[in-house]
Symmetry: C2
Subunit: 212 residues, 2 copies
DNA sequence: TAGATTGTTAATCGATTAACAATC
DNA sequence: TAGATTGTTAATCGATTAACAATC
């Protein structure tokens, strides 16, 4: 496959395209032009065509895009045609919420393990996944295919655990801990900083009030 | 206050500055130059100075920035010096997780209400906040100051509830439902699309595997 | 074929970086 | 004062939009 470097701006938009195409598919829409889609999604048609052409020509002149085909292709681009096994480290509220977020499985994401350090949680199950003690981590990863580690533990513990996770050979972290992990560059980290998001909301509220 | 339009790219970086400055403050660092900070944060010094100067001159030539002062000023820019009352709609796992996310309170975010439609949850309390039935929403908002509604209900219900929330006069939504809300433009919506985030992670994993 | 719409090149716009005069 | 470092202007880079030839 051609080693084109695709900008982050483009990649961020792909799941959104996927979502809208999924909706169109659910409505039995067979085909759509970039200009129709641009109206629905509130972006320019030009951007849609540019974005898609980073990955190949999925459309047809005079016709537009076949919704089902494009949906599937974007799914492949995003790796949704493969299964991703996830362990969740930190079985507090957020960890349990993620574990329960069943829908993720629809897209090939499967929670295979749930870890915590609190002995009180030992043996308890969340959605049929028993909570394991963190000291079993290395054994578990050695015996199970794990693609992603989700970090829902307190941030104080995150860097130590990150080292252990990386030593086990896990190459991708979905990080909810409110800090930046310091890791080798071949480890992929996707951050979800809820507190940053809330601050951005707060900024916009404040700005709106000022302008009144 | 001068009505400068500040780009989204800048606003997104502000919470990150705030976080790093908070860490420096915790380490009793009194002052820092843009170039020192740029090394820690892995951005250019130029960008730091440009970003900050959108909001005013917080530094001093030949000295740099006073950490405590800059931290406080960014806090004010982000509206963290004010209290924000939040209601959470959808008392499932994610709603409860957010409710329990005590730390938010440190920054002036207070969960004042928790709603659901499931009668089984009626009367149950999460962190001393009782779960109310959704039909009490309008009454509750009329009698309590509510700044933000967090959406943690299933996406099918999100748009209807959004209309009700907006009719109550709430002007800001923190949206975890995996769809885009269709609302008047004076309503601020901050989206947290966990599934998009996971797909981006999946993309990067896939790409890395291809290049091996 | 004629009309429609893509894929792609060129033009524009905005964001980032570099440079440096101002000044503490 | 001399050195350091900001605030800000100018240059560069990258992303978005416009335009249009290719083609279904």
């Amino acid at each position: 496959m051609a080693e084109r470097l695709i900008s982050n701006a483009v990649i961020k938009r792909m799941p959104r395209y996927y979502r809208y195409l999924g909706d169109l598919l659910a409505n039995d829409t067979e085909r759509i032009s970039s200009s129709e889609l641009s109206k629905i999604m509130n972006v320019t048609a030009s951007q849609i065509r540019q974005d898609l052409n980073n990955f190949g020509g999925f459309g047809q002149q005079g016709y537009g895009y076949n919704v089902k085909y494009l949906y599937d292709e974007i799914g492949k681009i995003l790796g949704l045609d493969k299964t991703h096994n996830i362990i969740i480290i930190g079985a507090g509220n957020l960890g349990q919420a993620l574990t329960n977020y069943v829908r993720f499985e629809k897209r090939g994401f499967v929670v295979v393990g749930l870890f915590d350090v609190n002995p009180r949680l030992s043996g308890i199950s969340v959605r049929n996944i028993q909570i394991r003690m963190l000291d079993e981590l290395e054994d578990f990863v050695a015996n199970n295919k794990v693609d992603i580690a989700a970090f829902t533990m307190p941030k104080e513990k995150a860097n130590d655990i990150a080292d252990r996770v990386v030593n086990c050979g896990i190459k991708a972290i979905w990080n909810f801990a409110n800090l930046e992990l310091d890791l080798p560059e071949d480890v992929i980290v996707e951050n979800v900083h809820l507190s940053d998001s809330l601050m951005q909301l707060s900024y916009r509220i404040t700005k709106q009030k000022e302008s009144e």
